[in-house]
């Protein structure tokens, strides 16, 4: 079992590179991930997402009304 107990400096990085590559999965390395492309969004999915955004906008307005009423009542 090999543990790297050195502090995080460049020398430590060079010494342990092989060991790090052996221990971690390739896509666990912070700078060597597989690049995932965009998901092809269907019309239905786009509609769903925009519908949800409209929902959020409406709910923010309703929350605003609730806050206004509560603060007004408090005053």
């Amino acid at each position: 079992m090999k543990y790297n107990t050195s502090s995080s400096n460049d020398a430590a990085i060079n010494e342990s590179e092989e060991w790090v590559r052996e221990v971690l999965d390739p896509d666990q390395l912070s700078t060597a991930k597989l690049h995932i492309g965009r998901l092809a969004l269907t019309g239905k999915t786009m509609l769903l997402l925009w519908g949800l955004r409209v929902y959020v906008a409406l709910m923010v307005v309703m929350s605003g009304i609730q806050i206004w009423n509560a603060l007004h009542a408090g005053a």
Partner: protein, 446 residues
């Protein structure tokens, strides 16, 4: 998929490799069921659940107990944590299978617009929530006579100190240590000598609901949902799973971790309701109480120790949530901006996320010291807003967890989708009911 090859090994990789090396050793020496392996792999699930038992949540539970006693809300809280498990388990699979945080995955799969939109949603809500955590820190320590400025500054320094350890493992273990104090509500509940029969009856009948269904009842329903299932949890747990280095081989332990977190958090939540049910039983009007006032109100009935424990619990709830929620913002910012997004990063590599984390916490802490702010209302409304913001977040989650191109064999099956969609429908309905009753409050006065 296009592979980007790089020869760079960062300090983040080295630290994660140490953690993974320990896991590999434990698995080799003790087998898949060893306690040591479990100890090494738990963390994100327990932290996310106990983190969500935050200041506003504990005050919501306290309000619930003081307003309705032991009844409908006991099984309802169990249901909300079951919902939380369904949602959070998906983030474990996503993180372990894709090795990407939630914001990063939305950004990559749905494009920059949705990535930044989700990030903005999260950062705004997290900031509001952070304010409420510092309110809890102030309230909890205020019970012991600590001046507000000292309490808030101390809380901020604790958040900064834990995070700036620059080591995920250290951050996780210290935060877990703090989070165990969430169970301090258990002895407070035991001091009330709760009736097992009454609790069992409430679980079987979902009753009583004193006063029936009215605006207060609906607000507490929303607050309790908001106390259990919120957007930051999705972003935090997935990013923490990735930062911890969990892989597909660790999925079972990730699920156990999440289930354990749900059980512990539900226990603390129900014990808070049981504790403040004392106030309901003694007809104490607690509708405008803050955290410390609950602690003080319990003293005449349960003694000074109960009040002190309750106050410590409120302080702990705020502190742990401030640590985890600010980490969630920092992770998401790093993931979408393309910079370092690991608590294993050193200050040179990860300064942007550490800056986001400490600046957000610092501003939130400062705001709490503004005189005459309507603190109780802010605390309750944050949970409600969190519920309203949840449906879009969970829809992205379900789309991603069904994305077989990145999830492979770990994509959701029929049962998981059924449960996930059911939870989404419940959350959307809760939001709609809240919205309709806000515009037409007379509907509740029949």
């Amino acid at each position: 998929m296009e592979q980007v090859i790089s020869n760079d090994i960062t300090t983040e990789d080295i630290k994660r490799a140490r953690d993974r090396s320990n896991v590999r050793t434990a698995r080799t020496q003790g087998g898949g069921r060893s306690l040591n392996l479990l100890w090494l792999l738990i963390g994100p699930g327990i932290l996310v659940m106990l983190g969500e038992n935050d200041g506003p949540s504990m005050i919501s539970y306290a309000q619930t107990g003081a307003t309705y006693g032991v009844g409908f809300f006991i099984p309802f809280i169990l249901l909300t944590f079951a919902m939380a498990y369904v949602v959070q388990e998906m983030t474990v699979r996503l993180g372990a299978a894709t090795k990407r945080g939630h914001a990063e995955l939305i950004h990559e799969r749905f494009g920059r617009f949705w990535g930044f939109f989700s990030l903005a949603d999260l950062m705004f809500l997290n900031f509001l929530t952070l304010v409420t955590e510092f309110i809890a820190i102030r309230a909890g320590l205020g019970f012991f006579g600590v001046p507000p400025a000292v309490a808030v500054l101390g809380g901020f320094l604790a958040v900064a100190a834990v995070t700036l350890s620059q080591r995920y493992w250290t951050w996780e273990r210290i935060t877990l240590g703090f989070a165990t104090f969430n169970l301090i509500f258990v002895p407070v509940a035991l001091m009330t000598h709760p009736s097992a029969g009454q609790i069992a009856h409430s679980c079987l009948t979902w009753a009583p609901i004193p006063g029936g269904v009215n605006a207060t009842f609906l607000l507490l329903i929303m607050s309790n949902i908001g106390a259990t299932v919120t957007p930051w949890m999705l972003f935090f747990q997935q990013s923490a799973v990735v930062d911890k280095g969990l892989t597909s081989a660790d999925l079972k332990h990730g699920q156990v971790d999440t289930a354990a977190g749900a059980v512990l958090a539900a226990t603390a939540a129900i014990c808070t309701v049981l504790a403040t049910a004392t106030l309901y039983n003694h007809h104490v009007k607690a509708s405008s109480f803050q955290g410390a006032e609950f602690a003080q109100a319990l003293v005449p009935f349960l003694g000074t120790l109960a009040g002190k424990l309750f106050a410590v619990g409120i302080f702990e709830a705020g502190l742990v949530a401030a640590i985890t929620i600010s980490a969630s913002s920092a992770y998401a910012f790093g993931e979408v901006s393309g910079g370092a997004h690991s608590l294993n990063s050193n200050l040179r590599e990860g300064w942007p996320i550490y800056a986001v984390l400490t600046v957000a916490a610092g501003i939130a802490a400062a705001l709490v010291l503004i005189p005459h702010a309507p603190l109780v209302f802010i605390v309750l409304i944050v949970n409600v807003i969190a519920v309203l913001a949840m449906p879009p977040a969970i829809v992205f989650l379900i789309l991603l967890v069904n994305d077989r191109e990145v999830m492979g064999e770990h994509a959701s099956g029929r049962m998981s989708n059924f449960l996930g969609i059911t939870v989404t429908v419940i959350l959307v309905l809760a939001g709609l009911i809240y919205g309709v009753t806000t515009i037409f409050p007379q509907l509740l006065k029949v």
